[in-house]
Amino acid sequence: MSGALATAERVRSGASSACEEVERVLAALAGEPYNAVTRVLAERARREAAQVDAALASGEDPGPLAGVPYGVKDLFDVDGLSTTAGSALYADAAPATADAEVVRRLRDAGAVLVATLNMDEFAYGFATINATHGTTRNPHDLARLAGGSSGGSAAIVAGGLLPFALGSDTNGSIRVPASLTGIYGLKPTHHDLPVAGTFPFAESFDDIGPFARDMADLLAVWQVLKGASAEDISAAPRLARLGGRFRQNVEAEQLAAIDAIAPDAPLVDLPDVARARSAAFLITAYEGGVLHREALARDPLGFDPQVRDRLLAGALLPAGLHDEAQAFRAAYKATIAALVADYDVLLAPAAPGVAPLIDDPVVAIDGERTAARATLGIHTQPITFLGLPSLAVPLRRPGRLPLGLQLIGKAGGEAALFALAARLEADGIIGWSEPGAGLAKQGAAA
């Protein structure tokens, strides 16, 4: 399966048609082996593809993503469908009456929506273990987790079945699965990309962003979502490596890669990382609890067992604690902004190692076995807390389980991340590796 720009080029040049591209993808999705897809939107996809082909036939420009198929995490509004956020509670909810804003932008750019994708219920988890739709599997090893909560979006792109997909990131839900499945995933500057028409989780941290297999595709999709071009960065970015907690609970190869990318860059210790992560936990739990309080009062057992206890606990937190955590956050953001003001990109691991096994979904943190669904975001959560943009990039290691890094920028500094990632990709340090034969392609027709 080719990438987004290659597909658009084929369609725009007439070498292929949007309808042909979509039929090829629909056939592939029918037998996808990752349990990544929750709904195939064949009718809508064929309609949108036909519109792209008609536009081309009449000499109109269908947009930079002409005929490019894509999927969205199951929390984006899709006109005419219930927005379920991965929950059986909302399976029969009133259908959305319009597309989410970013889906509208992609449609206007010629992209074709073909599927909704699996996630942890209400995005509360880092594992994509879902009571209704099952667990999403990692294309590099079907016995392992894809990560979450946007695991369906990551797996379907990593497995080569779709060129790009959208996910959401509240504490690491794009970067963790991108890291575990070996693709690129962007959490933008907080609220830099529109979240209108998405099912919220914790509004203080919610963001949406794209997954792709290479930087050119990711940049092309980001430009459509943003509605603007990335600033042209010619100067070498000023790099720093995050130290302290960001150099613990990681694979040695992640640290070696960071040190190889920026051997002379200073090691910056962010103060109070553990405090920041605790504040993020409290804000997330409180806001999630408030959001679902009514449904929890009405039908607590209708929630996914993996999620309901956490949401119930959050619903019992005092508002004063949330205020306290937010006050700490405001001061913390200011302190860190001043501390890292002289750097364009900070380097850190994205997830604490390779994907955990589905049968043993635990991660060792400080030598203790902890639930993967709660702790895979140990390195992403403090960055979300700061509202900074962070691009998860895959270390290039064909034939081995993926490991990812975070390139973290200043607020609004995505362009520097893209420029550095493009350079590292050109140098062969990062890049998507095709999942091993016999694992990834079992059901793929491409």
Binding site: R275, L282, L312, G314, L316, P318, G320, D323, K410, A411
Partner: protein, 376 residues
């Protein structure tokens, strides 16, 4: 964990300043050498402002600039409350203190806030650093225009005839503003280099101040400063400086309470709103006053500057370790234990199903741990 280094209780720079004043008193530079020193001091100041222009990051300013209420309070303190206090001191002390020293006291109240130490103290006290960067930078930039205007307004109108010349404003523009703008405009070319070599700023900062002070004090000594000044004058200056600082800090603290500022923003107002910049003040005095008067005019500023460093270092250290300054009213407990959980759940219209009780209790225990960690 990295924190801004604690500012030592005895600032080594104070010792350098004392040494330079002593040197100028014993070996004042005269004649052609004095002129050469003046030119050297002017060039050092131009280089200083050029480098500050290249160093100033627009991003930090943009990040903090939204906090307009705080910035308004800081600017009001710097350019309204301070001058009003200076005028009051002028009215009270004019009868018994050397007129040039009184001008110096009034002059110091018209100066912008410091940038580096305001931010360092704010960071040390765990205040809102981005807002401090913004407030202090804004105050400093506005001071380039406002201070000469206020000096013209107040020092001239009080009729002391100290030789203020509006042409001096042009001197300020040429010596301070133009190098600053040149540095800032060249930031795309040299900003990265300056950022990488920040260590060059401190010697330029301090070296240029020492040069100006030496040059100014030499002129003052040649004109007989130590013949007209005595220990009682110095003691009076110390008392006046302490009184001004106390009035300003108490007023700012009251203003923060009235405006219901957060703890972090209160710290910014206290530190940015109560400080006066030696770095800006000395060259401005050089540009605004006759050379023979500069030594006397900057003497109150030097004393006030050291006093504010001592007081703010003490206050920042107290804020840094004082947990009472945290929003105590907002402290709220995570319910733990069967009875507490059931009571809070009932209060919120929730029923905890039997199969969820253990899980909810475990999650609340985890959240209680997080609350404990958040509170340090």
């Amino acid at each position: 964990m990295r924190r801004p280094s604690f500012i030592p209780s005895i600032d080594p720079f104070l010792l350098c300043l004392i040494a330079v004043v002593t040197a100028a008193s014993l070996l004042p530079v005269r004649g052609a050498a004095a002129s050469a020193f003046d030119v050297l001091a002017d060039l050092a100041i131009m280089l200083l402002f050029f480098l500050h222009g290249a160093k100033l990051s627009r991003e930090a300013i943009v990040q903090g600039i939204g906090n307009w209420r705080l910035h308004a309070l800081v600017l009001a303190s710097t350019y309204m409350l301070f001058p009003a206090t200076g005028l009051a001191v002028d009215a009270v002390a004019a009868r018994w203190l050397n007129p040039l020293l009184i001008s110096g006291v009034l002059f110091l109240t018209l100066l912008p806030s410091t940038v580096q130490s305001s931010i360092a103290f704010t960071a040390m006290a765990r205040g809102n650093v981005a807002a401090a960067v913004c407030s202090a930078s804004l105050s400093n930039l506005l001071g380039i225009v406002l201070t000469p205007l206020l000096v013209g307004l107040f020092i001239e109108t009080r009729g002391s005839g100290h030789g203020f010349d509006w042409g001096a404003v042009r001197g300020i523009v040429a010596q301070l503003l133009l190098p600053f703008l040149a540095g800032h405009l060249l930031r795309p070319l040299i900003g990265a280099w300056v950022a990488r070599n920040k260590q060059i700023l401190m010697p330029v900062d301090r070296g240029s101040i020492l040069l100006v002070v030496y040059s100014a004090f030499s002129a003052a000594v040649v004109n007989g400063i130590w013949k007209v000044l005595n220990l009682s004058d110095l003691a009076a200056l110390l008392v006046l400086s302490a009184a001004i600082l106390a009035v300003i800090m108490l007023a700012n603290f009251a203003a923060a309470r009235m405006a219901k500022l957060s703890r972090e923003d209160t710290i910014v107002l206290l530190f940015c709103g109560s400080k006066k910049s030696l770095v800006s003040g000395v060259p401005m005095a050089g540009a605004l006053f006759a050379p023979a008067q500069v030594g006397m005019v900057v003497l109150p500023l030097m004393i006030f500057h050291q006093l504010q460093l001592f007081v703010c270092a003490w206050l920042a250290a107290r804020y840094a370790r004082d947990p009472i300054a945290e929003p105590a009213a907002a402290r709220a407990a995570v319910p733990v234990g069967e009875a507490q959980i059931a009571a809070v759940a009932k209060d919120r219209g929730l029923t905890i199903p039997a199969e969820c009780e253990r899980g909810v209790a475990a999650n609340l225990a985890l959240l209680a741990d997080h609350a404990g960690r958040l509170r340090g």
